[in-house]
Amino acid sequence: MASNQTTIDTAYKTMKDTPREEYLQPGSPLCAGCGGEIAVRLALKALGPKTIVVSVPGCFGLLALYPYSSIENSMLFAPFASGPAAAQGIVDGIRIQVEKRAMVDPGSKVLVLTGDGAAYDIGLQATSGAIHRGLDFYYLCYDNEAYGNTGFQFSSATPTGSSTSTTAVTDSSQGNSLRKKNLFEIWKAHNPSYLATVAVSKPVDMLRKFEKASKMSGSKLFIAFSVCPTGWRSEPRETVKIDRLAVETGVWPLKESVNGRVTHTYIPRKRPPVENYLKTQRRFEHLFGACGSEHTLQEIQRDVDEYWRSISI
């Protein structure tokens, strides 16, 4: 227990405390260098063997692809829009069995694992309902900023300027012209007990957040920055480096909301220009060079600056 304000009650002090147990096994069908896969692996390490995973269509639905499964935990595959509804079913099912004394409380944690397409778009209402009902579950959205599994189509998580297969770069268009939806604020407005953004280049921060959440009941929600080398057209070997750049340039703020109180868990003091981050991915390549878009670049930088100004740290 914390004895004073500077001591944090956590099992994770340095990277060396990363649990050795693996719940995600080698041999998954995900792309080499998939950033979201690191996030899932770390999350399961923190949540442990009693986690029941609910997956929906998307790349990570393939973590169980006949005849193989890459996850040691039990896994239920639900329709695209219905992850949180399926989680409600599992939670209620177990509760009723326990009430009827048909089973001893197994102490399960139910984790909904979906992409941004499901979280930001098609599954938003099921999630809204589940948080509103105070469902005791975890939700991990691996945000690769588009519909990756079907060929990288734009989603409402796609950032400004990104080219996708449905926001092509043409003479009159510089990729996606819309802004990324603010899922953190949308989820927060439902008053979940715990809500956080995470990034795999800060593994200790990430493990601590899952640890903290698992001591609470109610809805515990995570949005994980997920470098997607295939869709982002980046080098698989640079996945963690790109993730770190997103955090350091301020593109991906690391924060948590505990019963509605928001704290930033890491503050990038220097914040190098967003270009350093954007240049690592060919989905943004049209923004640079002779016919590049100075305007879009400035807009992206302005949004980031504005964000950090608004939280006034």
Binding site: M15, K16, T18, R20, E22, Y23, L24, Q25, P26, G27, S28, P29, L30, C31, A32, G33, C34, G35, E37, I38, R41, L42, L62, A64, L65, Y66, P67, Y68, S69, S70, I71, E72, N73, S74, M75, S163, A168, V169, V200, P203, P229, T230, P236, R237, E238, T239, V240, K241
Partner: protein, 299 residues
């Protein structure tokens, strides 16, 4: 006459683009042509297929996977060891491969050229679709070098390549085209063989047969068994730990997406090569630069 080509390679290598280039070149040459990639849960590095059918005017009424190809295009030698690509190849079939060292071992006539080395020189990366397509167009006597060059331009433009990269791909294609002989002549090739009686085109209603090796989706009752899926075969580069430099900081272990790095009790890391996909994140992140890179597949 009709010719059916099946291309084998790995996701991200340009198997689909190579198929498209061949079929567009054939179309520009005045032939009828059709191509399609295999759809499925394939990923960067995973085995993938694409298919091309060409005729000299006869309508192409068949669709779907090609079970009995007249020619195979193998984008790298790993496709030979991993998935026995020769199934269904007609007895007089031709193997076209980007890997000169392997060719003499085949039971089929073959045309081989080291497209990867040419690509590394011309494009500065191992991107072989234009080169592999060129081998097929030339070896099978399908097109002129002009139709091929134009097809490379059209298809590379379609996938959004920058103009200077497109021209370098054209250069690569022309070099590959000039480096191999024509061993089959499109107009005369392939006398009707017994298999033609149940030719895929003989019926209008096309059945798509189940392909060898593909599995239907069903419930999985074994958890965490994907180790059996040898994703180590996907590797283009292999990470090697230099234990004289390693300080056992476990950074590589933390960031491996696929749990392919295990730790001894004293924290010495070991890479599990049966499943390591060769993403090389460990090599990038190792603060001591103790992990080096080896090219996994000799061209």
């Amino acid at each position: 006459m009709k010719i059916r080509i099946r291309l084998h390679g790995r996701g991200g290598q340009g198997v689909k683009t190579a198929g498209r280039i061949i079929s567009t070149a054939c179309f520009l040459e005045g032939h009828c042509a059709e191509d399609s990639p295999m759809y499925g849960p394939e990923r960067r590095g995973a085995p993938v297929l694409s298919f091309v059918r060409v005729s000299d005017g006869e309508p192409l009424e068949e669709r779907g996977y090609i079970e009995h190809p007249d020619a195979l295009v193998l984008l790298d030698s790993s496709s030979v060891s991993r998935s026995s690509p020769f199934y269904g190849l007609r007895t007089d079939g031709l193997v076209i491969i980007n890997a000169p060292l392997l060719a003499p071992k085949f039971a089929f006539p073959s045309v081989a050229f080291d497209v990867s080395s040419a690509a590394l020189r011309v494009l500065k990366k191992d991107s072989v679709s234009a080169g592999a397509a060129a081998l097929a167009c030339k070896a099978l006597g399908l097109t002129s070098i002009e139709s091929l060059s134009e097809a490379v331009r059209m298809e590379m433009n379609e996938i959004g390549l920058r103009p200077e990269l497109i021209e370098r791909n054209v250069e690569l294609a022309r070099e590959c085209f000039s480096s191999v002989p024509t061993v089959k002549s499109f107009v005369h090739a392939h006398d009707p063989s017994p298999t033609d009686s149940n030719d895929e085109s003989s019926e209008k209603l096309v059945e798509i047969p189940q392909m060898v090796g593909l599995q239907p989706i069903a419930a999985i009752i074994a958890t965490g068994n994907s180790r059996l899926n040898e994703t180590g075969l996907w590797r283009l580069t292999t990470p090697r730990i230099d234990y004289s430099k390693c300080t056992k900081c476990i950074v590589c272990f933390v960031y491996c997406p696929d749990s392919c790095i295990t730790l001894e009790p004293d924290l010495t890391p070991h890479i599990q090569y049966e499943n390591c996909k060769g993403c090389m994140i460990c090599a990038t992140e190792c603060p001591l630069h103790a992990i080096s890179e080896e090219r996994a597949v000799p061209a």
